[in-house]
């Protein structure tokens, strides 16, 4: 099911937005190449919102202990994170961002 997240311009370029839906939390990214991606909202190391982290290109860095993930694949890229993030399909239609859950 596609769920509406926000307007495409509500996320700055190279930035991330927290999106809560029912009892779950997600992180929705816009990369430096103006592409949109979505992952689970919490870091896989501790329960910390990735939306407070820094997006660099297509990498999100968790601010708690600087673990890194590739936002496109969810792959864990740097210690201390070692478990990959779950990713979700994203589409942008008529200026609105949707994720598929």
């Amino acid at each position: 099911m596609w769920i509406e997240v926000c307007k495409a311009d509500e996320i700055d370029e190279e930035d991330v937005l927290r999106f809560d839906h029912e009892d779950r939390t997600f992180a929705v990214y816009r990369t430096d190449k103006d592409e949109y991606y979505a992952t689970d909202g919490y870091c896989t190391h501790e329960k910390f919102h990735l939306s407070n982290g820094l997006v660099m290109g297509s990498t999100i860095e968790c601010p708690k202990h600087n673990g890194r993930f590739d936002v496109m694949t969810g792959q864990a890229k740097r210690a201390p994170v070692c478990v990959d993030l779950k990713t979700y399909p994203v589409k942008v239609e008529n200026g609105t961002v949707y994720i598929e859950l």
Binding site: F48, H49, N52, G53, L54, E61, P63, K64, H65, N66, A79, P80, C82
Partner: protein
Amino acid sequence: MLQAGMVIIGAGEAGARAAVELRTLGWTGAITLIGEEPHAPYERPPLSKQALLSPDAPSPTYILDDEKLKEHDIEWIAGTPVTAIDRAHRTVRLADGREIAYAKLLLATGARPRQLPLLPMNGTPVAGARYLRTYGDALKLRDKLQTGKRIVIVGAGFIGLEVASSAIERGCKVTVVEVGPRILMRGVPIQIAQIVEERHRAAGVDFRIGISIEAIHCADSDGSVNSLTLADGTTIEYDEMIVGIGAIPETSLAASCGLQLENGICVDETLATSDPSIYAAGDCCSFEHPLYPGRRIRLEAWRNAQDQGTHAASAMLGEKAPFASVPWFWSDQYELTLQVAGLVDFGSETIVRELQDGAKLYFHLADDGRLVAVSGIGDSVVIAKEIRIGQILVETGAKPVPQALGDPDVKLKALLRG
């Protein structure tokens, strides 16, 4: 004979990261990780925080568990200290008599708590003082932090204050004694130290700052109570004493095989010791940092142990790049997180930026306007990203306009591009 492989002494933060990195970088020979502790490599930061608070006996937070060690084909020898290094034959000797040959050796032996100097105390040396470095120490301490117990903490550094915060949460009565002129003397600006001190006072901590301990009286069978006597003659009765007065680098192996020492094991910019086949990383080594020239530094921080462990692995495989990661650490006390990126003492001017919910950032500029450190305190959600951006500015040697730093309406990320 088997070909000599990579040997790592000390299965802590730096040692464990180095072992994994050697594999990640493609080393296919043997990797032997030798630790004197019985546990697989685990994280120390939770020991003064979650481990003391958890209602059930906590288990260690592993950096590498058995499964991961196997997956990376790391030979892990537990509960066995290395007792000697033979540099001429390139072997290490273990307490159980085994000898292991190395092609390259990494010393990641960490640090040990500094012991309280002997004080007149019922005529015998200090007994009953607790220290916190290992998982075993944390388990014992956790059992002692019972509601209503009087806890005295000697030393107002990170470990002492984190234990104070955990003890308060466990319902203890806490007194902190510090001989220095203020709390958090090392690496933290006075503005942050004041905020932390106020928070502790609000929680009920009784501080005795700028005063030394004259004597310790330990309870004996005659039913007397434990007490401390301070220089001004006041006495503090207590049930448990925890000492957090700093750490001493573990250099005994390095010293006995003749490696150069200076406040730790001396390493060059690639983390090689005075013997080019031997490297050192983490709390045990001292080094010169390209961003902070003119001084040999030694850090006791989790990120540094990781970064140096990772860097040493690449150096052991022949990479010559200098180690230049910006120092970074954090501490959690109550609901507050403090973080520091860079070295505050290299700054001469401080600029504050107010963030939401009372959080604060401080920018530390050197005489020439270069940003040498960024520190912050508040909710980690508010400060963490800003500190990280600050760290990148420090790394690039930026000289940001002070007005922009102080103005919360100027996005820090914009300064990265500027």
